[in-house]
Symmetry: none
Subunit: 156 residues, 2 copies
């Protein structure tokens, strides 16, 4: 069996033990598996990316850590669909507005949250000297990032 697979299983077992969140020390884990510390990063990048339904957060320096949060659960299917299928690399301002109001209609987000989201991808927010293509690429990314966050909170 591959090292990466072992590390993946190890982390997933930890996640199954109750909480949907786990905190670890990169160096300790690498030591445990007798591999290069950067191997852990590889596993995180290939098996615990947002597309796989996980968020990771970390801190360097003394007392540093890596935290992994599982965000995909039954209730978030629709959101994950949006993130993975509906939204591609690009989204116009209008498409954003349409999506956001659908989410509001469906009561996935509150009205206040909907306006916050709209503000984040508004023309005003993106009024920097960039091509429309780049702006729409940014919109897609900003939307995905926010939707992932909503999916994470909706897991209960």
């Amino acid at each position: 069996m591959r090292l990466s697979d072992s590390i993946e299983s190890f982390i997933k077992e930890m996640l199954d033990d109750g909480s949907a969140e786990v905190e670890l020390k990169r160096n300790e884990l690498a030591e445990y598996f007798r591999c290069a510390p950067s191997q852990i990063n590889y596993v995180l990048a290939t098996r615990f990316s947002p597309d796989h339904g996980y968020l990771t957060e970390s801190r360097r320096g003394g007392g540093g850590y890596i935290r992994i949060v599982r965000v995909v659960q039954s209730g978030s299917q629709r959101l994950m669909y949006l993130v993975n299928e509906r939204i591609g690399d690009s989204l116009t301002g209008e498409e954003c507005i349409r999506l956001i109001s659908q989410l509001k209609e469906a009561e996935v987000v509150t009205a206040d949250e909907a306006s916050l989201m709209a503000a984040a991808v508004s023309a005003r927010a993106l009024s920097v000297p960039l091509t429309d293509e780049l702006k729409n690429a940014m919109r897609a990314r900003i939307m995905k990032s926010m939707l992932m966050t909503i999916a994470a909170r909706n897991k209960g």
Copy 2:
């Protein structure tokens, strides 16, 4: 746990015990935690800055002291300050996080809204091929746009 975190908690506990103000002796505190006195300055700079919602004032010489005050501002005061003075043309990701968590602490936004905002300006959202400078400029704009939306709703 990190030393800095311990010192931070210690000070915050003192602040929670009633008054929104605390006075301490740098050397005594350093002695108590068995660390270099300058460590206290580090904690103040990284955890009790104005962005974190605190002001510090101090005096040297015999009978010197350090006073830490938690700043209390109304929601709209804080929003105005942020939009008009604090946020200029550029904001780093960390600065965004700090400002957002202050708004949450001050109950200007809900926890859900705070994570939404953080998601909008996260590195994940802005992982497009742009210079850091441009990204930080975008962060400033996105933040302002969102904050103005919040300010608008708080009036109605």
